[in-house]
C-alpha cells in the first residue's frame, strides 16, 4: 500500500510520519504530483496559517490535484480546514471540498484551544472501535461549525465539527498522531478503508 503524506509549507509532517511508522507503515512524504495521484491513500497534514498555505498549494498547482483525488484523503487540523470553502484566517478562499466555513473562536474562550477534548456523535467507519466521548488532542484557534458533512462533534464554548466526511474525503480537527492509542486507532481505520 502506498501512503503519501502531502508535503507543503506547513509543519507537523514529522509527527504524522512517526505515527504511521509506529503502525508499521512507511509513508512517502512528497509534494510530487505523480506520486500523490498514484497513492492508495493521501494524508494532508498541517499546522500553520491558512492564507500562506493556500498560496503555496496554488503556486505548486496542488489545489486542483487534491480536489480531483479519488482515493481516500485525510486532512488533519489545518489540512481539514483548507478542505473547506473559506477560512476567516487571512480571509482565505480554500479548496471547497466541504461546503463549510472556518471561523475564529470567540474570545469568550482561551484561543487557541490547546489540549485534550472529547469527540461525540461519532458517525463514520473511521471511528470504528473508538468510544463515544473519547479524548483527542486539539490545537487550533479556528473551527468549522456543525453541518451536513459533520461526522463528529466537540464542544469548546459551542458544539463544532471535530471531523468531516464527504465522499472519499475525510478531515479531523484534532491530531490523531498525538492522541494516544485512540488516535492511532483512527489512523489505522483510515489506512484500512
Amino acid at each position: 500500500m502506498k501512503i503519501v503524506i502531502l508535503k507543503y509549507n506547513a509543519g507537523n509532517i514529522r509527527s504524522v510520519t512517526f505515527a504511521l511508522e509506529r503502525i508499521g507503515v512507511s509513508p512517502i512524504v512528497t509534494g510530487d504530483i505523480d506520486e500523490i495521484q498514484s497513492a492508495d491513500k493521501v494524508i494532508f497534514p498541517g499546522v500553520g496559517e491558512a492564507s500562506s498555505a493556500m498560496h503555496f498549494l496554488k503556486e505548486q498547482k496542488l489545489d486542483k490535484v487534491i480536489t480531483d483525488l479519488k482515493q481516500p484523503v485525510l486532512g488533519i487540523c489545518l489540512g481539514m480546514q483548507l478542505m473547506c470553502n473559506f477560512s476567516e484566517e487571512g480571509n482565505t478562499n480554500c479548496l471547497g471540498i466541504f461546503d463549510q466555513k472556518v471561523s475564529k473562536f470567540s474570545h469568550t474562550n482561551k484561543v487557541p484551544q490547546i489540549g485534550w477534548n472529547n469527540i461525540f456523535d461519532l458517525s463514520s467507519n473511521i471511528f470504528d472501535h473508538v468510544n463515544e466521548n473519547e479524548y483527542m488532542y486539539f490545537v487550533h484557534g479556528y473551527f468549522v461549525e456543525v453541518g451536513s458533512n459533520t461526522i463528529s462533534k466537540t464542544n469548546y464554548g459551542i458544539d463544532y465539527s471535530s471531523a468531516l466526511k464527504k465522499d472519499n474525503f475525510y478531515g479531523v480537527q484534532f491530531h490523531p498522531e498525538k492522541s494516544g492509542d485512540a488516535g492511532q486507532k483512527i489512523l489505522e481505520n483510515f489506512l484500512s478503508l
Binding site: 509527527s15 509506529r22 490547546i114 489540549g115 485534550w116 477534548n117 484557534g141
Partner: protein, 251 residues
C-alpha cells in the same frame, strides 16, 4: 469539554535525565525516551523536556534525542532550555517537537516571539516565565532565576501574548522545590490577564495542590517534576482524585 492537563517535566543534560527518578520497570531511568514512554503509558497529557546543558555544541545531541522521543510516544511534548534563534527552533520542530519553550532569549529580544509565531504558528510557541515575589509584587527573573528584572510578570505575559505566544509556562521561584503548593495568586492574575492557556509550575507536593491551582489559580495545566519522578504521586491516581473533585481530566 476541554480537560485540565497534567504535565511531567524532565530535566535533560547531555541527552540524559538529570534528576533521579524512582520508577519500577524502567531499565534505564536516565534515558529520557524510556521515561517518556512510561509517563505516556501512565496517563500524562503532555511532556516538557528542559535541556539544562543548552550550549551550542549540545544542540545536535538534543535534536537527536527529540527525534527519538517523537518516534516513541504518541502524546505532545515541548522542548525548552537555551533556545535563542529561529534556527534552534527550526531544528527542534523538524526533529519532531510539538512546541518549543523560550525564556531569557524572548525577554531580551521580544520580536523573536513574533518571528517564531509568524513562521511556525502561535500554537508551538510557549513563553516560559520565572517569577519571584518581592517588594509586594511578582517580578520576572532570567537566566534560570539568576538575574532579576524590573518587569512585572503579568506585564511580560501580556506583552508576550500580544506578540503571538500561544501558551505561558509560569514558574513561581518562591514555591519551586518547596512542595508547599502552587502560587495561585500570580497564576490566577496571569491566567485572567491573557487569553492563552497558562501552565502552572513550581510547588506541587500533594494532589490537593493540583486541584487548588485549577480551581483557585485558574490554571489550564499543571507541571511538576519530583512528585512524579519519585512516584510520590501517580498520574492515574491524581487524575482519579481530580475527577472526584469535579475537575475535567482525561482518564
Amino acid at each position: 469539554m476541554l480537560t485540565k492537563r497534567i504535565i511531567p517535566c524532565l530535566d535533560i543534560k547531555d541527552g540524559r535525565t538529570v534528576k533521579g527518578v524512582n520508577f519500577e520497570n524502567i531499565r534505564d531511568a536516565g534515558d529520557p525516551v524510556e521515561l517518556a514512554i512510561a509517563y505516556s503509558a501512565h496517563g500524562a497529557d503532555e511532556l516538557v523536556f528542559l535541556d539544562i546543558s543548552a550550549t551550542n555544541e549540545k544542540r545536535k545531541t538534543l535534536s537527536e534525542l527529540v527525534s527519538r522521543i517523537a518516534k516513541n510516544i504518541n502524546i505532545p511534548f515541548t522542548v525548552g532550555g537555551g533556545i535563542s534563534s529561529i534556527d534552534d527552533v527550526c531544528l527542534l520542530l523538524n526533529a519532531g517537537a510539538d512546541k518549543i519553550s523560550i525564556n531569557t532569549a524572548a525577554f531580551k529580544n521580544p520580536q523573536l516571539i513574533k518571528e517564531l509565531a509568524d513562521r511556525f504558528g502561535s500554537q508551538c510557541v510557549v513563553v516560559a516565565i520565572d517569577t519571584k515575589y518581592e517588594n509586594n509584587d511578582w517580578y520576572v527573573y532570567l537566566n534560570g532565576g539568576k538575574v532579576k528584572t524590573e518587569m512585572r510578570a503579568v506585564d511580560w505575559a501580556k506583552m508576550a501574548v500580544s506578540l503571538g505566544c500561544g501558551e505561558i509556562l509560569l514558574t513561581s521561584m518562591n514555591n519551586d522545590g518547596t512542595k508547599n503548593g502552587f502560587s495561585n495568586d500570580i497564576i490566577k492574575l496571569v491566567s485572567e490577564s491573557v487569553n492563552v492557556p497558562v501552565i502552572a509550575s513550581g510547588g506541587a507536593g500533594t494532589m490537593e495542590h493540583f486541584k487548588d491551582t485549577f480551581v483557585y489559580g485558574k490554571a489550564d495545566a499543571a507541571l511538576a517534576a519530583s512528585v512524579f519522578h519519585f512516584n510520590e504521586i501517580g498520574i492515574l491516581d491524581l487524575k482519579k482524585y481530580l475527577k472526584e473533585q469535579k475537575i475535567e481530566v482525561r482518564i
